[in-house]
Amino acid sequence: MATLSNLTMLNAIIASCKKEPFVADDLYRLGYTQVAIEKTVVVAPGETVVPDLAIASSNLNSVCCFEAKSGRNLEAAQGHRYERIEPEHIERFYQFSLKYRAGITVDVSYLCPEDAECIDGLTYDLERESLPFPLVSIGAAIGLVQGRFKHHDLQALFSAGMAVEIEKVPKYYRFDQDSFLYQIAPFVVQTLVAFSQQGVGPTTTQAIAADAYGPYWSVTGPRQRNGIVTKIGKVLKAAMLKELKGFLQGPEPDKKVTPNTTWTLNFANTSGSAYPAQRLASLKAAGEELTERMKLVELGGIPGISGFLFED
């Protein structure tokens, strides 16, 4: 299994485009900002690429598209479609024409975890397919493994490498459909407490998922959304039956959770009165216990509980 998820790698690049206290802000200092995620670019009739992330610097007249690969294999056809990407495609589909001068340099780079198997696999695939894209690994540092960036500033920056403490990389992307439930659970509990304090009435799995997922929900595709909603439904059901029993009410235990399943927060703050400190402390403890239980099941493989936890 790869050591880092695609999300962490993308978050590290996005963070480097901002003035961050815990992550090297080298890209920010070169004027790069994140300009698009998951945005489709037509590179030839009927052929598209959807970079995971694109960053741009108007100072340097440079755009760089990133494709994150947490596994060992490259999709060859996708790589060859990236070969066809030209500045005019970027201008047309990212609507840069108003902001940027002519003659943009467009780079495409693959990101992978600092993991020997991943690096070897992707290096082999890039060479086999004669794809000219730089491969950047992310681990203790963000650095160039092979290939060259067209833009000399990017080449210099990634060749020198940027220090990064993975634990401290901000979670602009919080989780996805491949995340473990224990990684998702704290965000769900946070949303439930916020909804409760706002006096939100009965709500749905989908509404909770959208809030817990964060800013990227609006640009997440339907398939991914379904996967996320399914996982959040599992977290909600597990929490309702144990740690958040009495706080969260949902469907009967034998009923399947759907995107439209209704959930009610029993202590919703409709009266405007403050929560008693004891209740707040118990919600915090419940959230931590829920997360810990899921971690034990998912990483520790505790038999017997997992069947309950993962049922739909």
């Binding site: 901002k18 003035k19 698009a36 945005k39 704290p186 509990v189 409760s196 304090q197 929560y275």
Partner: protein, 387 residues
């Protein structure tokens, strides 16, 4: 039956308050005796979270006031200007038969001004009760903002007050407990501040909780005590000078900080083009002097003073990521905490006043010298435009 309002418009209120302040000063001159609080006009800056559209502003505010004020034993009546109200409340001192009057000016639907000539105990009581309700909060002025008010155009520093108490972090441990309190009026305030700034210990503990400002505009001079909870108390004979300070200088600067900087430029969210806009807000302080878990527990219990609930998503010896909820408005925010840095991610749509409240209280309970920056702003809180 409503009591007859003394003023029906903002200009009439200014005239009335001006007359009362001059009468108070004349009385002082003739009797040669200071009558504490008598004739001193007070204005409170309040922050509201009513999600008001401009086209239904008046009706929405009126309905809200009619809903909440009776619960505080107050009567409210609409006056002649738009979003201008008289709030009347019986004096809590039963030996006094008159009721207290408060003029609420909600022309800026987010940041309201509450003006009164009532004595501080009565006026503070209403402000405290109002800000305990959801959707209304105080304005919160950290040290940088208060000192900037004193440095702003036409103003000069005439004193300051300081209050610090680390009890939320010491939690009854007498050896760790530190308290500091100081009130200094006079023209040596700047020199005393220099002394404080020359000592690490004093810098950390001398939290600025208020400033005394002399404001001179043309022939008008007023002395105002501005405290960290958004209250300004005027002394002297010029209500117009006081009004100019609170309505134009302070309220505008606070709006610029909370709305233009924190909510519009620093809050994190996707633009219409799917660009992740905004920047984290960064508080730097002198470092942890307690275990990180205890630090997190002290801040994120959900109770006062910080009123933040939070659950650690990551917690190691040197780093914590806390998913928090502001219990006053129910908005979410994320705190990343290292040894001497607190990084705050405020989602777009969340209330910027939460940042002002947290930072002001952090200075008063943990590190009086903490700084705050974000994106291209070296300091988030400042009074002068473009600072």
């Amino acid at each position: 039956m409503y009591p007859q309002p003394t003023a029906r418009t903002v200009p009439e209120m200014i005239g009335y308050f001006q007359d009362r302040m001059q009468a108070g000063l004349a009385r002082y001159d003739s009797e040669k005796k200071a009558i504490f609080d008598e004739g001193a006009a007070k204005t409170y800056l309040l922050e509201t979270d009513l999600a008001i559209e401009e086209n239904n502003k008046h009706d929405r505010i009126t309905a809200f006031l009619r809903e909440i004020l009776p619960t505080l034993s107050c009567e409210v009546q609409e006056l002649g200007d738009e979003a201008f109200y008289l709030i009347t409340r019986p004096n809590s001192d039963a030996s006094k038969d008159r009721s207290e009057q408060f003029y609420l000016q909600a022309d800026d639907s987010r940041f309201w001004l509450l003006h009164t000539l009532a004595k501080s105990d009565q006026a503070d009581r209403l402000q405290q009760e109002l800000t305990r309700l959801p959707k209304i909060d105080s304005a919160w002025f950290p040290k940088q903002f208060l000192l900037d008010i004193a440095r702003a155009k036409d103003n000069s520093l005439q004193g300051f007050s300081s209050r610090f108490d680390n009890e939320p972090f010491a939690k009854g441990d007498e050896e760790r407990h530190a308290e500091f309190s100081l009130k200094l009026w006079g023209n040596l305030a700047r020199e005393v501040l220099q002394v404080i700034n020359s000592s690490d210990v004093l810098q950390r503990h001398a939290a600025i909780s208020g400033v005394r400002v002399r404001r001179r505009v043309a022939d008008d001079t007023v002395l105002d005590d501005v405290n960290c909870f958004g209250k300004a108390t005027a002394f002297g004979a010029s209500f117009t000078g006081h009004y100019d300070l609170v309505a134009y200088q302070i309220r505008r600067a606070y709006r610029r900080t909370i709305v233009d900087r924190i909510e519009d430029q620093l809050a994190i969210g996707l633009s219409g083009d799917n660009v992740l806009e905004g920047s984290p807000i960064v508080i730097r302080h002198q470092g942890l002097d307690l275990d990180l878990r205890a630090f997190v527990d002290a801040i994120f219990s959900g109770a006062g003073p910080f009123r933040l609930w939070g659950m650690a998503e990551t917690l190691s010896e040197s780093f914590a990521r806390v998913l928090a909820v502001d219990m006053h408005v129910g908005h979410k925010l994320t705190f990343d905490i290292g040894n001497s840095i607190i990084r705050i991610e405020l989602p777009r749509g969340s209330c910027g006043n939460t940042i002002a409240r947290f930072f002001t209280l952090f200075q008063q309970h943990y590190d009086a010298n903490a700084s705050i920056s974000g994106g291209d702003f070296e300091t988030v809180f400042s009074v002068e435009e473009g600072a």
